[in-house]
C-alpha cells in the first residue's frame, strides 16, 4: 500500500515502474513455464534411466497398458515410487530451505547445513533403537529431532545483540550437526540392529523407497506447504527487519512459530523419506530469487518447482555416473551444491536477501 501511494505521487517515474513491473511479470510467467517443463523432463528421465535401461516407448506402454512384464514391475513398482519420493522430498527440502532463509534472514540457510537433518536422523536412530521399523513410525521421531534442532540452532545463531548473524548461524548448525551425526554413528556402531536398519537410509538415498514409504509422508508435506504459502506475505515484511515488520502490521511471533512448524514438518518429512540430504534447500530458493527477485510470494512457489527438479536431476546423475551401480543422491547434491555455497559467500553482498 505504502509503495503504491509513493509511486502515485511521482507521475514521471510511474511509467518506467509500471513497464518494469510488466516485464518482471512476463519474466516470472515465462520462468515458471520453463521450470515446470524442466521438472516434467527430469521426471520422465527419472522413470526411464537406471541400471535397466528402457526406451521411452517401453515406459509409455508400461504406464498406459501394463501387462505384468518385468518392464512394468520396474516402472510401476520401483521407478514410479522412487520418482514420487524425490518429488515429495524435493518440495519439502526446498520449502524448508526457503523458509529458513527467510525467517532467519540468512542466505546460507539449508536444513542440511543447519543440522536439522542431522537432528532428525539422530531421533530416528533413537526411534529405531526403541523399535520403529516403518517410515510412518520414523515420522514422529524425525519431526521431534527437526523441531529441537531448528529451535536450538536459531537460538544459538541469534544469541547476541546484533541479532541473527548468517555466518554464526551456519557455524552453529555445522557444529550441532557434527555432534549429532557423531552420536548417531556411535549409536549405529553400538547396536548392530540399528546399524542394519539405518545403513541404507543414513546416506541420503531414494533406493528402494516404495509406495509404503512415500504415501504416509505426503499429507505432512502438503500441510507444511500450505503453512509455508500462508506465511509468505508476513515473511516479506519480516525481511525488512523486526521493527519495520511490526510497524507494517506483521505478527512477528505468529509468523516465527508458523515458520518453525512448517520447517519441522517439511524437513522432518524429507529426512524420514530419504535420510539427510544437504544443499538442495540452499540452492533452490537462490535460483528462484535470481529469476523472480526478493518477493517471497513468488520465491516460495518457484522453489516448490525448482527444488524437486534439482533433486531428481541429482538422483538421475547418481544413477548414471557409476552405471550400473549408484551414487546416493545426497553425495551428488553435496558435490553440486557446495560450489553454490562458496559462490554465495564470495559474492560481495552475500548476506543481503
Amino acid at each position: 500500500m505504502i509503495v503504491r501511494s509513493a509511486v502515485a505521487s511521482r507521475p514521471p517515474a510511474r511509467r518506467d515502474r509500471s513497464s518494469s513491473i510488466s516485464v518482471a511479470r512476463r519474466r516470472r510467467a515465462v520462468g515458471l513455464v520453463v521450470a515446470l517443463t524442466a521438472l516434467a523432463v527430469v521426471s520422465v528421465l527419472s522413470i526411464a534411466v537406471g541400471s535397466n535401461a528402457l526406451t521411452p516407448g517401453e515406459v509409455w506402454r508400461a504406464l498406459t497398458a501394463p501387462d505384468g512384464t518385468v518392464v512394468d514391475r520396474v516402472v510401476l513398482d520401483l521407478r514410479m515410487p522412487r520418482t514420487v519420493a524425490a518429488l515429495v522430498a524435493g518440495v519439502a527440502l526446498g520449502l524448508a530451505g526457503a523458509l529458513i532463509q527467510a525467517f532467519t534472514r540468512n542466505p546460507l540457510g539449508d536444513p542440511g547445513i543447519l543440522g536439522v537433518d542431522a537432528g532428525a536422523a539422530l531421533f530416528v536412530a533413537i526411534g529405531v533403537a526403541l523399535g520403529a521399523v516403518t517410515a510412518l513410525q520414523f515420522l514422529p521421531w524425525a519431526f521431534g529431532g527437526a523441531l529441537a534442532v531448528t529451535v536450538g540452532v536459531s537460538v544459538i545463531g541469534a544469541a547476541g545483540r546484533s541479532g541473527p548473524d548468517p555466518v554464526r548461524l551456519t557455524l552453529a548448525g555445522v557444529a550441532v550437526g557434527a555432534v549429532l551425526m557423531g552420536i548417531t554413528s556411535a549409536m549405529m556402531l553400538l547396536s548392530p540392529l540399528t546399524f542394519a536398519r539405518m545403513r541404507g537410509w543414513n546416506a541420503g538415498s531414494f533406493v528402494e523407497r516404495g509406495w509404503d514409504v512415500v504415501l504416509p509422508v505426503v499429507p505432512f508435506v502438503v500441510a507444511g506447504a500450505i503453512v509455508a504459502l500462508s506465511c509468505t506475505r508476513s515473511l516479506n515484511a519480516l525481511g525488512l527487519g523486526d521493527d519495520l515488520a511490526a510497524a507494517l502490521g506483521a505478527r512477528l511471533t505468529r509468523t516465527r512459530v508458523l515458520s518453525v512448524v512448517a520447517i519441522t514438518l517439511l524437513a522432518g518429512s524429507a529426512t524420514a523419506i530419504a535420510g539427510p540430504i544437504a544443499f538442495v534447500g540452499l540452492m533452490a530458493p537462490h535460483v528462484a530469487r535470481w529469476i523472480v527477485g526478493p518477493d517471497q510470494r513468488w520465491i516460495v512457489p518457484y522453489t516448490m518447482v525448482i527444488a524437486p527438479t534439482v533433486l531428481l536431476l541429482a538422483d538421475v546423475l547418481g544413477r548414471i555416473v557409476l552405471w550400473p551401480s549408484e551414487v546416493p543422491v545426497g553425495i551428488v547434491t553435496a558435490f553440486v551444491g557446495a560450489p553454490v555455497l562458496i559462490l554465495l559467500v564470495r559474492r560481495a553482498k552475500a548476506s543481503s536477501l
Binding site: 547445513i113 545483540r161 557444529a175 544437504a278 553425495i331 562458496i342 559467500v345
Partner: protein, 350 residues
C-alpha cells in the same frame, strides 16, 4: 637466567648472543599438562582385557618384567598410546598454527577443509594404488591432498585480503565437496579395498601398530622441527604483516613454511589414523584459556592436544561396552565445545 618483573612474569634465558623470553605461566601450564598426559598414558597402558597395575606397566616399560606382560604393554598397547600422545600433540600444534596465522579461533584444519583434503588424498592412494593405512603412498597422498585443499580454500576466499568468516564458510563448502568425492571413491572401490578404507576412515587408533606409528612419527618430528625454527616469526606475524616485516620477518616465506609444516602434521596423523576431528580446533583454545597468553602458543597447544587425544582414546575404548573409533568421541566433545565457544563469543561481544 633472569626473571623480568615488567608485565607478566617472564623468564629470560641467555646464552651468548641468543636469548629467549618465556612466560612463567606458560611454562608451568605446559609442564603440568605434560605430566598429566604421562599419568593418563600410564593409565591407558594399564587398562584392557588384561588389567595391569601401574607398577607392572612401568616394570614392563623399563624392561624389568619380561614375558607376556612385556609383550602386551610394549608390542600391543604402547604404539597405540604413543600414537595418541604424538598425534594429539601434532593436531594441537597444527590447529595452533592455523588459528594464529588467520587470527581466528575457528580456522582449524578440520573446519576449513584441510583434514577432508588429507582424507580424500589418502583415500585416493589406498584405492588407486592399493596401499595400506599408514604406508608411504598414503602419507604422500594425504599431504598432497591437504596442501591442495589449503591452496583451494585460500584461493577461493582471497578477495582483497582474507576475511575470517568467509574463509570458514568456504572451508565448510570445500569440506562438503571433498567428503562427497571421498564417498564416491569409496563406492567405486572393490569391496575388500573399501573395507580397509572404511576402517581407516572412521578415525581410529585401534589399527595403529609400530609399522603405522613410526613413519608418521618421523613426519611429525620433522614438522615440529620446522615449526620450532619458525615459531618466532609466527608470534611476530600475529602483530600484522607490516609490523612483522618491520621486525625483520620474511613474511611470505615464513607463512608458506608454517602452512606446509602444519598441513604435514595433520596429514601425517590422517594417513596413520584417519580423520580425527576437532582436536585441532579445541586444543589451542583450551591452552589459550589456561595460559592466558595474548596469542595462540604452539607448545601448550601441543601439550593439551596430547592430553585430549589420550583421554578421548581411553573413553573410546573403555567407556562403553563396544569400543568406538576415537574420531567419534572427539567429534562429539569437540563439536559441543565449538557450540559453547560460539555462544560464549557472542555473549562477550554483546
Amino acid at each position: 637466567m633472569t626473571l623480568s618483573t615488567l608485565g607478566p612474569r617472564t623468564l629470560v634465558l641467555r646464552s651468548g648472543r641468543r636469548s629467549v623470553r618465556v612466560r612463567v605461566r606458560t611454562v608451568v601450564v605446559s609442564v603440568v599438562v605434560t605430566v598429566a598426559t604421562a599419568l593418563v598414558a600410564v593409565l591407558a597402558l594399564s587398562l584392557g582385557d588384561l588389567p595391569l597395575t601401574p607398577a607392572q606397566v612401568l616394570g614392563a616399560l623399563l624392561g624389568v618384567d619380561g614375558g607376556f606382560t612385556a609383550t602386551v604393554v610394549r608390542e600391543w598397547r604402547l604404539p597405540r598410546v604413543l600414537a595418541a600422545v604424538l598425534f594429539g600433540a601434532a593436531l594441537g600444534a597444527s590447529g595452533a598454527v592455523f588459528q594464529s596465522l588467520t587470527r581466528n579461533p575457528l580456522a582449524s584444519p578440520d573446519v576449513i577443509g584441510l583434514s577432508a583434503g588429507s582424507y580424500a588424498g589418502g583415500l585416493g592412494a589406498i584405492i588407486l594404488l592399493g596401499a595400506g593405512a599408514g604406508s608411504v603412498p598414503v602419507s604422500a597422498g594425504a599431504i598432497v591432498g591437504g596442501l591442495a585443499a589449503a591452496a583451494l580454500v585460500y584461493a577461493l576466499s582471497y578477495r582483497s585480503g582474507i576475511q575470517g568468516f568467509r574463509l570458514i564458510v568456504i572451508g565448510i563448502g570445500v569440506s562438503a565437496m571433498l567428503q562427497a568425492l571421498s564417498t564416491y571413491l569409496l563406492l567405486r572401490a572393490k569391496l575388500e579395498v573399501a573395507m580397509v578404507a572404511a576402517v581407516w576412515g572412521a578415525g581410529s587408533l585401534s589399527a595403529v601398530g609400530w609399522a603405522q606409528f613410526l613413519p608418521a612419527a618421523v613426519v611429525v618430528v620433522l614438522a615440529f622441527g620446522a615449526l620450532g625454527t619458525l615459531s618466532g616469526s609466527l608470534s611476530r606475524m600475529e602483530l600484522g604483516d607490516d609490523a612483522a616485516r618491520a621486525l625483520g620477518v620474511r613474511v611470505e616465506g615464513a607463512r608458506l613454511g608454517l602452512v606446509v609444516s602444519a598441513v604435514a602434521l595433520t596429514a601425517a596423523v590422517t594417513a596413520a589414523a584417519g580423520p580425527i576431528a576437532f582436536v585441532a580446533l579445541a586444543a589451542p583454545q583450551i591452552a589459550h584459556r589456561l595460559t592466558r597468553t595474548a596469542g595462540i602458543a604452539i607448545v601448550p597447544s601441543a601439550a593439551v592436544g596430547a592430553l585430549v587425544l589420550v583421554t578421548a582414546d581411553i573413553v573410546a575404548q573403555h567407556a562403553l561396552p563396544t569400543a568406538l573409533p576415537v574420531g567419534l568421541v572427539t567429534v562429539v566433545i569437540g563439536g559441543a565445545y565449538l557450540v559453547w565457544l560460539l555462544i560464549h563469543e557472542t555473549r562477550r561481544r554483546a
